[in-house]
């Protein structure tokens, strides 16, 4: 049924259709509406049997998820930003133990400075944690990916993080096609754990492993993620058969055939990029777009095949490795190693800065004119950057950076001059 609803509610309803048995929740923007929605369904009796646990922190949320998943319950939670960081130790345990937990990550920047807006710093900080990471372009895809995520997680016995842009998607009202319970039941069989804590057949889960087998356990995690590279597109194809629409998979190309230039991106910015690509195509440019939908496992071969014909590629990402540059760009460059194409990294949209068509057009003009630097920060305000750097060069007690910059852009009154 097609409805006009908030992205968070769409995800909550999709998760409910997956018949989760345990949901643990700790609120943090911009994820809160999702677990609120699920909480209301459990309390209202429409989602049953399901235990909804309010926990005291994100660390507890993931710890409870580990316990319930190990006890054989289909388990779900959601978080964002500092919440993800706070649960990190347990996040690694969930994947290390091979527990098929599904978690929504409503992507949000990480402080300091404190910032509640969207970027991909939070999920990228956990790219090596052993979870599968899928990225949604729209609310429809976010909804669809959750249904696929439970199937994938339980087949592979590994946790899946569904990443959706905080606020831009979670708080957007747009139309979604909500599947029926029968459709979801036809696609997602009941959870059959590969390992389970059962008093009738006791096992221990979480043994200490020394140097004699630790590398092998880690390698098996890698081998399974490699296998997921095959399963992800297969599950997406089966999903398309049952639900009649395309969602998920490893990558999605847009107007890449015959393209000389490609933009590579993930998440909701793909929609805005499609508009820009259409405009430039209409003007005669051979340009296309590659959306990465599975970030972990990273689809090296699919990216390389999709970009095989391009002369330039631009990785536009909402994440940033301080002291190096792009995060996603590293992976894309690895996929393109040995190819002649020239790569560019564009850091954009950090801390919720809007990524506008106008800015993207200017950036692509620079690509076409061969002016784009290998590492570019879209719409960076160089004036306030240089002012702060000059301040630091000229005096020792230059003060806190964030407050200085806010003052420079006029958001805080200048301190009164000292006599």
């Amino acid at each position: 049924m097609i409805r006009q609803i908030e992205g968070s509610l769409a995800v909550a309803e999709a998760v409910a259709l997956c018949r989760p048995e345990v949901i643990c929740a700790y609120p943090i923007s911009p994820q809160t509406h999702i677990v609120e929605g699920l909480g209301a369904m459990v309390k209202g009796g429409t989602l049953t049997p399901c235990e909804f646990l309010n926990v005291e922190s994100e660390f507890a949320a993931m710890s409870v998820a580990i316990g319930s998943s190990a006890a054989g319950a289909r388990t779900y939670t959601a978080t964002a930003s500092q919440g993800l960081l706070f649960m990190v130790e347990a996040v690694y345990n969930a994947s290390g133990l091979g527990l098929p937990i599904v978690m929504t990550l409503a992507n949000r920047a990480i402080g300091a400075p404190i910032n509640i807006w969207n970027d991909h710093s939070d999920s990228m900080s956990q790219r090596d944690c052993g979870w599968i990471q899928l990225f949604a372009e729209s609310n429809q895809e976010a909804l669809d990916l959750h249904i696929q995520a439970f199937r994938l997680a339980e087949e592979m016995s590994m946790p899946v993080m569904v990443c959706m842009d905080g606020f831009i998607l979670t708080h957007a009202y747009e139309q979604v096609d909500m599947p029926t319970q029968a459709q979801v039941d036809a696609f997602l069989p009941p959870y059959e754990p590969r390992q389970v804590l059962d008093p009738a057949d006791p096992v221990s889960i979480g043994a200490m492993v020394g140097p004699e087998a630790f590398m092998e356990v880690r390698y098996i995690a890698h081998a399974k993620q490699t296998m997921a590279l095959d399963r992800i597109p297969q599950i997406a194809a089966e999903f398309a058969q049952v639900f009649g629409r395309e969602a998920g998979g490893l990558v999605r190309g847009y107007r890449l055939e015959d393209a000389d230039t490609a933009v590579v991106a993930l998440g909701s910015v793909v929609g805005t990029l499609e508009e820009v690509i259409d405009a430039r195509r209409a003007a005669g440019e051979k340009i296309g777009l590659l959306s990465i939908r599975s970030y972990r496992p990273f689809p090296l071969a699919a990216v390389r095949a999709a970009l095989a014909g391009v002369k330039h590629f631009v990785v536009l990402e909402k994440s940033f490795s301080v002291g190096l540059g792009g995060v996603v760009a590293l992976d894309v460059r690895k996929a393109m190693s040995g190819m002649a194409a020239v790569g560019h990294t564009v850091i954009a949209g950090l801390g919720g800065r809007p990524i506008t068509q106008a800015s993207l057009q200017r950036m692509l003009d620079d690509v076409m004119a061969d002016r784009l630097q290998p590492l570019t920060f879209l719409d960076l305000n160089w004036e306030i950057v240089n002012r702060q750097l000059a301040r630091e060069a000229s005096m020792r007690r230059s003060g806190p950076i964030a407050e200085n910059l806010l003052r420079d852009i006029g958001q805080k009154p200048a301190p009164e001059a000292k006599p």
Binding site: Y173, G271, T272
Partner: protein, 225 residues
Amino acid sequence: MQLIQVNATAVLWRNVEVIRPPQAVGNAIRLGVDHILQIRIHGRGGQGVVTAAEMLSVAAFFQGRHAQAFPSFGSERTGAPVVAFCRIDDRPIRLREPIQAPDVLIVQDAHLLQQIDVFQGLDPKGHVLINTRRSLEDLGLTEIAAQLPKGHVVTLPATEIAMKHLGRPLPNAVLLGGFAAMTGIISLAAVVHAIGEKFHGDIARRNVAAATEAHAMLADLEAAR
């Protein structure tokens, strides 16, 4: 002026009844080919600015259109300036940037006119609906109104209408009733439907009454023009 044409196949696909505006009004906005209609709503935290954008998107969807509503993503506090956006189109909406060049502005609090440049980026043929009892002269808006086509800046005493029906100064649904009459983009029936999706019982009924009064007020004004 011709009324908006709703894409018949899209409507069938969505299996919803299309409710067309009841009558052609003088300033009806037509969705052009390849043109997304963009609406920006200004107000203050607590005035239901975000809810207004959401209800507008629900109303447009009810009429068989694609719509997208989203807030300006601030850490909203009661009383602080808040912006919310709504896009309406006959095709799926892919664009995710904030609305910088709106076709329509809805101003829920006229005091904002002194505080921020609400008109920033407004289309030269754009429409403006302001919640105020005062005249455009009083608000110092004659110059701006003169730059837009005649009748494109409209005032509505939405807070007074809200006080009468709701007993609280919540002008959002009232302004949507006015918006429907002023632009013809959505019908009053669609606004009533959207109010019913957001509110229930007595609160819904009171908001419907308030929106209906506002609609009648501006429809009369348009008819007289």
